[in-house]
Symmetry: D2
Subunit: 332 residues, 4 copies
């Protein structure tokens, strides 16, 4: 079967750089003489048949924009009993010959299911700020989210210093500590808290309070910043801050960075990565590949079966080792 | 009495640009042959006699830094019964001939009290991100806070568009709607909520829900951003988001920008304003002035008696008029 | 005559915030039940009849974008002998009832000429980074250009400090020193050079070299940054740097910031100003005004006859006074 | 011999992230019970014996600063006949037990020479924005320079679009095309020019002019951005722009980004890399290593003999292949 019409969609949480991937795929396909059909709002656009051809002009000047021009969504219909079968029929209605899905682990599970009823090529591109997809060192949007978090924490450091305060800053990452770890190292956080390093929360918190108490007593820093990954603890950032204040007597504030981490112009690295993965996805189709995600491991493009992607093992030994390596807390 | 030693302190909430004022005052005083004594952590440094002379080198390369190299604090001791009298004695112990206070309304109240027991020149410079000081169009830090809020909301707009979501974004301002108003206008917010425009909260919210419902039904925008000033409503940003979602059926998220608005490199306007006010404060001392705050009204430097500063009238008619002028909500 | 169709164009050098004005005008007109016809590439679009109606959707999400969605140009045809008469005819062909021009002094001269042959309302909005239009304290784009220049000079300061170097940094401004002055004050430049303060270039440069020599000898700073307005001197920034190096023996580099100063997301102040001026321009049409530019003087909206706009007097005494006020050079 | 006093210097062109490395090394050494002696202004500080112990406080809040708190320089004395021998003597005068040099290929050549006369451990850390050091995938400062260049080019794109202009943008890189390549891919440059891809300049330029002519004729883009590495061509960016204009008839401007690329707060990636390399350098000393640079290849820390570092092979086949892969120019 020869490919003539590529379907393209973004699905799940949006991530800066998705537009760069959309651009690369579109230009590469146009170069190859293929049509690219943008499907809107993730898999929802399949069911509602909301789609439009993408032209050179459509992808002009989008490489620098956050969000996704195709919109995104988490699709309920696909998860229903015969959702995958129905999706397959809709793809045929749109006369799609091959599908490229930019998204995260949920999006790839959906793609794998659809492939059972639609035996045409499907290629995945990892797009999520959480960097929690198995089989790739990086996902599109990860370094932009870190940079955004970092520039926020740099600002918080200014006011923390001025008041000699303790700050608890919650960053995103769903169930993964990667954003917390990299932004925490980069902002010279006094503590980085993520699920991966906690064996017993109660013990961990006791040790934390005593470690902070020690640092504060010895006045080793003007301020004390704790970067905590969302979902790392059973208590909220606000409660953690209150507990620290009551345990140490030092004024402690909290900040939840939240959705700002999802937006903004992508950093260079995410634009380059997204462009590279987009080109490779089209190349993979040319080579007859299907059912794989294009990832990058040790600076090399790789193809991972979509079925093997899933979430990264959160008991990530490398991450724990890395975190310990960066621990300059002189109280330990 | 001839002035030889200037005391200088920053007090209350820190604001980007305070360092620019410290620099200007220090250089201007050195030029005049005066010594500048930096008092640390606001009025606390008086009581603990924590101070140090400021040199040309100390203020080199600080104009671009957030926070304050002198630290800041809200001082409890000063508010105690004989706090002002004690502060006056401490100023004499430090052999201070004149005092410059960079801060907000609370800091100026403190200065006014001290002046009763210490009959030497005191000059105030308005430094607070909230822009809530009477007698000046702008305070140091205001436009930096707006810019920080704006760049965050621009990022939130990206993800709001991608998901076609409603977002409630809470900005700072203490009891004033200025940050909400300016950042809201600048980000093209669909709604700007501040205390000044609410007569009856329950009525206001009913009208808000119905206005949102109307906009959403007619799909006039890809996303809907509501900028709300802290303390404007009796309910939290999170609760407001939940109420909107239950009233409209549209996915609604909230974000509290929080302390990031206090930090960061000051924008040009705040650096220029702070430099100008710092120079004018020293000039005022040269001219024998005392008990005044240097402000700016309609691009002209003015001197306002510290006792008249206080908080701006929050039932600000100009602000209400301005907000209505910018209301593009087509549903009204 | 009742107005039904507004023509809108941007002309001359583009400035960040022009899109915010386009948005405000479009929404305000739609609210009033008027059509807005966007004319492309300045007055060129008149002659080529390149125009399109602007909708709510067209101006969605443009407030945060640099450039102008209507494109801009400097139009040669308009300057030709019967250019204005022809332009008037083209406006009639497009059935335009009133015209809003966003641009600088050249654009307003063009508008004034057209008005002689086309007796319908024309309103001007000052849009240029140079802030060189008579009759307004600020033009759209001015503070964004300053902020961009400032963030560049902050970066240059880092490397200047590391090497203890002298840097000559050229900023834009056409024949006006405003960008140089504000960015120079804000970056703590050791010297700010603009045409307005130079009486005799040769004398000025001699004094400059000797002032630098003095500062360098006494090592009062780690680095020495000179901000110079384009066209301020008869020699280039590069030649000035070479002359300083040969006069002082200190390693001296130059940087020409150039066109980066024209682009980028507008700062909050420019978005608010542009929105305000756009609304006021439509209001002026409602009130039957014509042949005026909407400006802002001392925080108040004003209407200036287009014929009186022209370039600001470059022998600006206020500017010179202001500059001297900020001169902390201890060698003087 | 047991190590007690570490000498630390930054040398050659400064790069954002050098301070992060200084911080990591200092904290790690303090943890190990060692003294760290900061030597000022590169090897110059050896000859002038300008040095000072670095404390925890000295490295507080420097991770986010561009430049280097130790200053840097290109040292002439070291290159003189017995420069290395003299440097060795000075190291002994300072009672240094081991030396860590953060810099580029010239700095490492110097270190290798000194090691001949000073048989104590020397470790190199690659710090240069140019990423031109053999034996490491990345150098400290590289991604910050790319990000700075990118944000400038994004701004230039705005004005280029508004005027439908061609822009020639020169970026840094000394003799290497890496900054041009990555920033060019990230900004969606229509052309990326670096020395590595030019066999015959005259032929290359002819093909370039014709390729631009073709694109312009077919109006495939609103603007046309050419990113060119410094030293890639025998003609200046300005001359190239003039030639393009005379060949195509399209308005063409040039911009030389220059020294802004050397400064600014380092991006997260550079802070993390610098921290990691700093820790590894101290670890290497603990393990008795000497005469090696710590680099990173495929995400793994490596040690490369200083003598093997040198400049990367500029006829970089991987780079050429990579560039061709990203070439979306539809005219080819």
């Amino acid at each position: 079967m020869s490919i003539k019409r590529i379907g393209l969609l973004t699905s799940g949480g949006d991530a800066p750089g998705m537009n760069a991937a959309i651009r690369a795929i579109t230009l590469k396909c146009i170069n190859a003489g293929w049509d690219v059909i943008g499907i809107e709002a993730g898999y929802n656009g399949l069911f509602s048949l909301s789609s439009r051809p993408l032209t050179h002009q459509d992808v002009d000047n989008i490489i620098q924009r956050g969000g996704t021009i195709l919109k995104t969504a988490r699709c309920q219909t696909l998860k229903e009993d015969n959702g995958s079968e129905l999706a397959a029929q809709q793809l045929d209605k749109l006369a799609i010959d091959a599908l490229i899905v930019i998204g995260g682990d949920g999006s790839f599970r959906g793609a794998t299911q659809i492939n059972k009823f639609w035996p045409k090529p499907i290629i995945g591109i990892p797009g999520t700020i959480d960097n929690d997809i198995n089989g790739t060192d990086q996902t599109i949007g990860f370094w932009t989210a870190i940079e955004t978090a970092l520039s926020c924490i740099d600002k918080i450091r200014d006011t923390a210093d001025a008041f000699e305060r303790i700050f608890v800053v919650e960053v995103m990452g769903r169930d993964c500590g990667f954003i917390a770890m990299e932004s925490g190292i980069a902002c010279a956080a006094e503590q980085i808290i993520c699920k991966e390093i906690i064996e017993n929360e109660s013990d961990f918190l006791s040790k934390l309070y005593s470690s902070i108490q020690h640092a504060v007593t010895w006045q080793q820093t003007q301020s004390y910043v704790i970067v905590v990954a969302e979902n790392a603890l059973s208590i909220s950032a606000q409660t953690l801050a209150q507990n620290i204040q009551s345990n140490t007597g030092v004024d402690t504030k909290s900040a939840i960075l939240g959705y700002v981490q999802r937006g903004g112009a992508p950093v260079a690295m995410d634009r380059v990565l997204a462009t590279q993965l987009g080109i490779a996805a089209v190349d993979a189709l040319v080579q007859g590949k299907s059912g794989v995600m294009i990832g990058t491991l040790n600076n090399t493009l790789v193809e991972i079966p979509l079925a093997d992607t899933g979430l990264k093992n959160t008991a990530n030994q490398a991450l724990i080792k890395r975190l310990k390596q960066f621990n300059f807390d002189l109280t330990d």
